[in-house]
Structure formats: C-alpha cells, structure tokens
C-alpha cells in the first residue's frame, strides 16, 4: 500500500492514499534522498492518514512517497532479549553505534534479536501433541533461566505437533516445530515471534489477586508501603527529590527474576550510569552479572518524541513476554510524565480538544490501561508468573494536584510520594511517611506497622504543636514521643543508597530490626528532663544507625524462622566487619544501653563505649 505526503507539521505527517488504511499500522515515509523514516498511523480521516513519525521529519516534502505495512508496531520476542540495550523501537543501541557512530541518524533500523547466535534447543512437546497459543514446545537456556519457546500467542485454536526439531544448537529463525491446524494447514514455528506492543499480551488460565510481597530491600517500602508481585506503584516527586536514585536502587536489589528499565524521556546520563555499571555489578541472588537479568529500553529526552510513547509499550510487551515464560518481572518506567507529555504533543498536533493543562481527554484511560497490564497470572500449566509496574511521575512545580499524578493515583496499588522538604533535609529516600500509602500487605505484621505509624503521626502532631507553644510548653511525655518518632525516621526510614551494606536490607533483617525498634519505642523511659531525653534518644539513634552499616548476621534468628533466599557471598562481607563493627556486638550494646536507662544504673554522659566508631 502506498500513499503521498500532503502535509508536515512537527513530527506529524498527513498522507493521502487510495488504498485501505489500517489504524495503528506502521509505515515508512521515504525522504527524497532515499532514507526511510518509520511511522505509525494514528488517525484515519477519509482517504487521508495522520502519521506520527518516530524520527526527525527534517527534509520531508509534500508529495514524498509513504509505504504502508499491514503490521502494527510490534516487538520481537525470543531468546537473546536479556542484557540488551534498546531504543524505544527496540533497535539495539550498541549495534546502532557500530553501524552509524556517535549519533542516532534517522532511518537506521536493526533487528532486535541476533539471528546468527545459536541456542541449545531441548524439545518438550512431541509429535502428535495437541497444543494451543502460548503452550511450551521446548526451551533454550538464557542466562540462568529456561527460556520456553511457545506456540505464537496470536494463533487461534488448537494445533497438532507434526514435527519438532531434535535437540541441537540452532539460530532463532530455524523452524523448530511444524504444527497443523484443524483444517490441516501446516504452520512453522521459529524461536522468534512478534506481538503488537499496544495490545496486552496475556494468555492465561486466570488472573490472580497479587499477594506475594515484592521485596525491594528498601526499608521504608517493604515495611511501610509494600509492593507485591503483580502489583503497581508510582513515585511522584519534584526534581531532585530522588525518583531516579530510588528506581536505580530497586532495579539492583529487587527480588524478581527480571528487571526491565524503561528510561522514558529523561536524562541520557542516568542511563549511561546503568549501562556502564550493571555489567560490573554482581547480582547477589545469582552471583551473575546484574546485566544478565536486565533489559534497558531507552528513549531519553533528546530522542524523538513519538518513540517515547512507543518505548513504554515496548518495555511492557517484553515484560509480558517473560511473564508468559513463567517468570516474575519488574517493569520500571522513569518517567511516565514524559510519556504523558508525548501524548500531549501528539494530541496537540492532531488538534484534538484539549483537557486539563492541554493533556488529551484520554490521558486517564491510557494511564489506566497501561497499569492494568501488570498482574499476577496462572499459566495453563499452573505455574504462577507476574509483571509488576513501578512508574515515576514528574509533576510540574512538584505539585501533585495535576492530571498525570491524579490519573496515576487512581489506578495504582501503592503511592510513594517524595517530598521536597525531606529531600532538602537530605532524608533519603525522601518518601513522605505521612502522605504515602499502599493497599498491599508487606513482610511485616500490619498490626505492628500500625502501632509504629501511630507513633509517627503523633510525633508529627507534637512537632507542629511545638512550633506554637515552644519546647517549654510541651509535656515531657509528648516530647519523648516526638523524639521516638524522629528516632524511627532517622534509624529506619532513612537509608543510605550509596553504602554497600545499608543500601539493601533483607527481609529477615528488616523484621529483626523493626521488632527491636518497636521494642525500644514502646519502652517507657522515665527521663528526668528534656535534655536527658534528647541526649539518650540521640544515642540510641546513633547506635541503630551504626547497626545499619554492620553486615547482617543471620545467626541472630533461629534457622527455622529464616526466610531470606541464600545469597552468594559478596566480596565485602566479612572483610569490612571490623571496620563497620559486628551486628551482634552492636545489638549487645543497644540492649545494654537500653537496660542501663531502665535501671538508672548508669549516667549516660560518661558512657564511653557508646560513642560512634565510624562516620
């Protein structure tokens, strides 16, 4: 199908054709120098098609040829996706760099999967088996996973396996199976298939209510505002509040099989950090390079806007694909606001009637249907797999009362709101403990969390009151409660993302430390005066902070109660123990100090042992 360009305006082109036009089909605008620019039909009016161009439109002319395909914008799915760095249209960026150098020159497209590399194929189905879409035919090893090769997701009905390839080493485009449908037509299956990115990919027996916590190793998240596998959450916050750092930390430490990072319309430099660091970093859960469980999709802010919209859906589709394989996947998108802005730009060019802040009227439904693609599912063979989505939101002026934040809050299961006040005070991660919420159950007994929450809220009330009545006007009991809230904040909610040990806290450790904190906070100290209260709580606090820097010692809890997955030993463990102090030693100091306060046996001022050892 062919057409001609009638109008060009920004990244929008109007083309005229006498052929059939399929909405959301892709096409190419052919520039007069022969370069073909990928585009998508986003609106059809009579014989004209409105196209969004995924490249710069510089040089296009009225009358230039447009070639339409019948395919919709699709992702290539198959072994070899892990460890890749793609642009929003799934072009592998390292290969693009080899081909065209420093710049992303328009019109260069490279197949997403390596068609030459071979994979060790093990058939699972046998001739005569009756199969249907998404059933496993065999598998190949990819990274530490068994990558199932499935009957293409889009095939309707039942098929009989007529031929299946012998075990062996094959490239992805080898026919590994031939299936016949009910009317006897033969269809060939390779290791690669494709799926239109804007359609949810979910072949399943049923969707499950997600309940298994997805551990991020960030204390304030896992303990206070948990996420579950198959759940959704968002991180809104003004610039510099720590959205990206929080996602980076999560992408390293989250307890999932696969992490897909979608860098959507933000800084290129931040992706470079990840690209350069991940291959060097070890995944403590597998002992392998972190890159082996990661896929990076990047359409950074200077890359073409229409592809920004595509990047989010490409990431989503890859996540769903690995879910079909039977894995737990985390999709991180930074920032969904840039995606919303891309929608706004395109909508503006289409001259649609604008809604609030010029966002299109369908903003909410697009955001909702995106997050709806998350979920925990039971596959046909009863295995359970999930896609979890975490998106950052960058509200204008840091004000959450704006369309993107509001639309997102309506559909997610957890809200991690970052506050400017907390990030200014360097209280990282700057998740506001009073504003944020989660509808999910976490790793810690929710009754205990509620008790702690009460202290936090009360502490805040007292603090506010104190700004009016002053310290003098505050009763010592209230004053102590406020100090306890502050203690919980600084010793538990705050976490140093840049420290090897403190950056990630395991489940067992969170439980153990939380219990200890709760115990201390619910202890009735009988402080003589406010100075003593302040002094003692500061001391306890600094002991707990030191504790956070000490490597975890699992021997403090009975073996039968341990839940942590076995980690492969990392190099720094043990080695730094002397410098950082030992976990059990500091625990002893805490117990002794608290006891001494209760006994009144010691004058805290003269307690030498309690001074901090490292800063």
């Amino acid at each position: 199908m062919k057409g001609r360009i009638k109008a060009v305006f920004g990244n929008m082109v109007v083309a005229q054709t006498s052929d059939n036009i399929i909405k959301n089909a892709v096409g190419y605008c052919v520039r007069s120098d022969g370069v073909k620019l990928l585009c998508e039909i986003i609106r059809v009016r009579g014989d004209s098609a409105d196209l969004q161009i995924f490249e710069e439109t510089r040089g296009l002319r009225v009358g230039d040829e447009v070639i339409f395909e019948e395919e919709m914008l699709s992702a290539s799915l198959g072994p070899g996706l892990l460890g890749q760095i793609y642009d929003g249209l799934q072009n592998p960026l390292p290969q693009l760099a080899e081909k065209v150098g420093f710049f992303l020159e328009p019109g260069n497209y490279i197949h997403a999967l390596d068609t030459e590399r071979t994979w060790d194929w093990t058939p699972k189905a046998k001739a005569g088996d009756v199969v249907q879409a998404a059933d496993t035919l065999g598998s190949v090893p990819e990274s530490i996973f068994e990558h199932n090769i499935m009957v293409p997701f889009g095939w309707d009905g039942q098929f009989t396996v007529q031929y299946i390839a012998e075990p062996g080493s094959y490239p992805i485009l080898k026919d590994i199976a031939i299936l016949t449908d009910s009317s006897g037509n033969e269809r060939k299956v390779t290791m690669e298939q494709s799926w239109p990115v804007k359609r949810p990919l979910c072949v399943t027996k049923r969707r499950l209510l997600p309940t298994t916590p997805m551990v991020t190793s960030v204390r304030i998240v896992d303990t206070m505002f948990p996420i579950v596998q198959g759940g959704t959450y968002c991180i809104p916050g003004p610039f510099g509040a720590g959205k990206t750092v929080l996602q980076q930390i999560t992408s390293r430490h989250a307890h999932v099989d696969i992490v897909i990072i979608t860098a959507c319309g933000e800084r290129a430099g931040e992706v470079v950090d990840t690209i350069r660091e991940f291959p060097q970093l070890q995944d403590p859960r597998t002992g392998r390079s972190l890159m082996e469980r990661t896929i990076i999709i990047c359409n950074t802010s200077a890359m073409p806007v229409a592809a920004r919209d595509a990047s989010v859906y490409t990431g989503m589709t890859l996540a769903e694909y690995y879910r079909q394989i039977g894995l737990n996947v985390l999709l991180l998108a930074d920032s969904t606001s840039r995606w919303a802005q891309a929608m706004r730009e395109i909508s503006g060019r289409l001259e649609e009637i604008p809604g609030e802040e010029a966002f299109p009227a369908y903003l909410e439904s697009r955001i909702a249907s995106f997050y709806e693609r998350a979920g925990s599912i039971e596959l046909r063979d009863k295995r359970i797999a999930s896609v979890t989505i975490g998106g950052t939101v960058s509200p204008a002026g840091g004000n959450f009362d704006e369309p993107v934040t509001q639309a997102t809050l309506k559909v997610v299961g957890a809200f991690h709101g970052l506050s400017r006040a907390r990030s200014d005070a360097r209280r990282y991660p700057a998740i506001d403990p009073l504003e944020s919420w989660s509808k999910y159950k976490g790793i810690i007994d929710s009754k205990k969390v509620a008790r702690m929450n009460k202290v936090l809220k009360r502490g805040d009330e007292i603090h506010q009151m104190m700004t009016v009545v002053g310290e003098e006007g505050t009763p010592i009991e209230d004053f102590t409660t406020m100090l306890k809230a502050e203690f919980f904040d600084s010793a538990y909610l705050q976490q140093n993302a840049f420290d090897d040990v403190d950056a990630a806290t395991s489940v067992d450790r969170q439980k153990f430390v939380f219990d200890k904190l709760l115990e201390v906070i619910e202890t009735d100290f009988d402080f003589k005066n406010k100075d003593e209260a302040r002094h003692c709580m500061k001391k306890i606090s600094s002991l707990f902070i030191n504790w956070n820097y000490a490597p975890w010692d699992e021997s403090v809890i009975p073996e039968s109660e341990r839940q942590d997955e076995k980690m492969s030993k990392t190099a720094h463990e043990g080695k730094e123990e002397t410098e950082r102090g030992s976990f059990t030693e500091i625990l002893k100091q805490i117990d002794e100090y608290v006891q001494s306060l209760l006994d009144g046996s010691k004058n805290p001022e003269s307690d030498e042992k309690l001074q901090e050892t490292n800063a």
């Binding site: 109008a7 920004g10 439109t57 933000e266 470079v272 890359m303 200014d424 600094s542 902070i545 901090e612």
Partner: protein, 443 residues
Amino acid sequence: MRTYFDEISKIAGNVVTVKADGIGYDELAVITSRHGTSLAQVIRLEDDQVSLQIFGGTEGVSTGDKIRFLGQSFRVPFTDDLLGRVFDGSGQPRDGRPEVKAETVEIGSPAVNPTKRRVPDKMIHTRIPMIDIFNTLVGSQKLPIFSSAGEPYNDLLARVGMQADAEVIILGGMGLRHDDYLTFRHRFDEAGVLGRTIMFIHTAADPVVECLLIPDLALAVGEQYALQGKNVLVLLSDMTSFSDALKEIAITMEQVPSNRGYPGDLYTQLARRYEKAVDFDGAGAMTVLACVTMPGDDVTHPVPDNTGYITEGQLYLRHGRIEPFGSLSRLKQLVNGKTRDDHRDIMNACIQLYAQCDESREKREMGFELSDWDERLIQYGDLFEAKIMNLNLNIQLFDALDECWKILAECFRPEETGIRNAIIQKHWPKKVLQEETTETSKA
C-alpha cells in the same frame, strides 16, 4: 526547479505563509522585503502552502515580497577561523569583520547514542569556592544558574568562562542587553581568553525569533570541537528569553498552550538543547552552563521547573551569592572523592554549620538570648560568607579547602564540626589543634 516564490497568502506574528512546492520540512529560506533580507525556516507544510518563521520579524513584510528557498536546513560554518569572532542569531558576523567561509555543519543534529557516552569523571576547576567545593562542576555537565532578574548572573557566567580550564569557550547570548554583551566581550578580552572564544549574540534589540537559533548554533559548533577531542564550555544566557521566543511562535501557530502560555513541548525543546552536553566515548566533551532567570523569583515557573527536570542540578543565585541550600550538582560525587581526602567532609560540615548559623541568626532577630555556641556560629557564618561564599574570589580548590579549615579552627573546637577524627588529625590547622575526644555523628 523554481527557487523564488512570491504568492504570500498570510502574514501573522512572525510567520509568513507562501504558496510553493518541492520544499523540505525545516528548510531554510531568505525573504527579501523593503527593509532588507531575513532568514526564514519552514515550520509547516500543507499541500502547496508553506509556513515560514521569519527570523528578522515580519514588520514591513508585504504580500508582494519574494522568498528564495535554500534547499537545505540551517548550517553553520565550522573552522578555527570562528575563534575570536562574534555572530548574530542568523549566523552573520556582528563584529564588522568578513563572513567566515568554510565547510558547514548542520545545526540540531540527532541525539547522541547513549552507548557512545562516557560516565563523566573530570572536575572543571572554576576557582570559585562555592562551585568547586560545594557544587562541583563536572566535564559534560549541564548546569543552570537559577536567578532572579537583578542578580549578577552574567557576571558569574563570565567569571566561570574566564577561570574554567576549557579549551574552547562558546557564548550564546539571548535577549542580552547590549551593555551585557560588551561587558562579556571586554572581560574575556581582559582575561586573554577571547582568542579561544566564539560568541553568538542576540540582543534585546534584535528580532525575537533570531534568538531561537542561538543555542543550536552554539551547541552545533561546540559539538564539532568536542568530536575533535576538545573540552568545550558552552555558556548560555538567558534561556528564559529563549523559552519566551518559543512561546511566541507557538502562540502565532495557534498551538494550545499547556502552562502559563508555554507550549506543551517546552520540556522537549529545552531537553534537546541541554542534552547536547556530552562526554563522548573516544572524543572530547561539552559542558553547558546556562542562566535561567526566574520570573517573579518563582522556581515553579514553567521555565526553571522544566529546566530542573532536565539539567544535572542547579545553582541558585540569591543576594549576590550562590545559595548553599537548594543548589546541587548531581554529578559532584563522581569527582569529589578523588580531589583531596577532606573535600567531602568539608563540604558537608561547612554547610551543616552554616545551616545552624541561620537558626542562630533567626534567634538574634527575634531578640532571643544567644548562647556562646550561637555567637560562635554567627561568627562562623560571617567569616564563611566573606571568605568562601564571596563570588569575587578567585582561588584554587586546595587553597579554598585550607581556608575553610582556618575558619573552622577560628570558631570551633574540632569535635564541634562533626568531621571524623581521621580527617581532623590530618587537616586541622596545627597551632590550634587540641587533644580532644571527638564525637562524630553520621546522621
């Protein structure tokens, strides 16, 4: 093919629509009217109607004027002959010297492939302690100076330009007062850096649209030098004028504004410029320092707000000083661990103490009684402002760190600074070092 077209059908704002065919999107044209000629750029094609943005403005343009298309998008000559020269927003000399003849490069090149970027690791020494110690500038960083209108932001920009160790300096001026332009020129001349400086200048008296190309011109030339392996520093002032020009065009084109009249793609437009800052893997680097005046001193105004989401930190200029709070270099941790072992400790301690000084000063203002500690904090604050925050200083990083130690020693005992013992032992000025037990806190 015909290159002259004269059937102008519409003149509105700075946009002229003419009947023409065979014209490429983004293509450049020259419009000749009674008042002379001006460059123009295609911003919309619709059948045979071509809309052009006229850089010289449309005042006096008539429906009988002629438009000649150049068959290519905007290009800028690239040669060492540019050094020491001054150009306007359409790339013409404004220093009275002849036009530069050389190979040209396209402006507004595509984005750099992220896999061809390096993680930056080189500190740029500006010899301004508030930057070097506290908000370290890193090669390839993009950093704005958020400033209210009356602040000496151009002064600061000129200072950095003169003192930074860059091989090529490019100044992009947008909406500059003529005096400011002359001052820049004069100061670069005085400092002897004019020979490695290129200026693209749009003054407030020039047509508004001409300022739109300034960042692209400056960055395109800078990019070429960076590709040659050079370390380039690009100074842009004032990006708010640039954004306002974008706003003006968007309104003329009847685009729906998103926020306070600014177009919905303001973020993208700004990002496409700032993201040109780069450290090439296998070539040089380009650093971008930009002034952003904040209308109404409001950081949530769309221009500073969108900028903050794009850049790698920000410097707040207030009351003639770089604000210690709120200012942030997001890349500083990439370099400040490798300068001198006390750099990070001094950075943290001095700011924390200065924050406490603020509280003590407040107490003083409210008429509360001051403790000895308060008095010393205030003494510290005064010294810190005079000897470190002062923007007229021109000192080396190590000297600045030493100066900080001196001030600390004058006002405090070692353990009061919160600096860890190992560092105190090594750096506390010898004469005043007393044996003290130190208590430091991580919090």
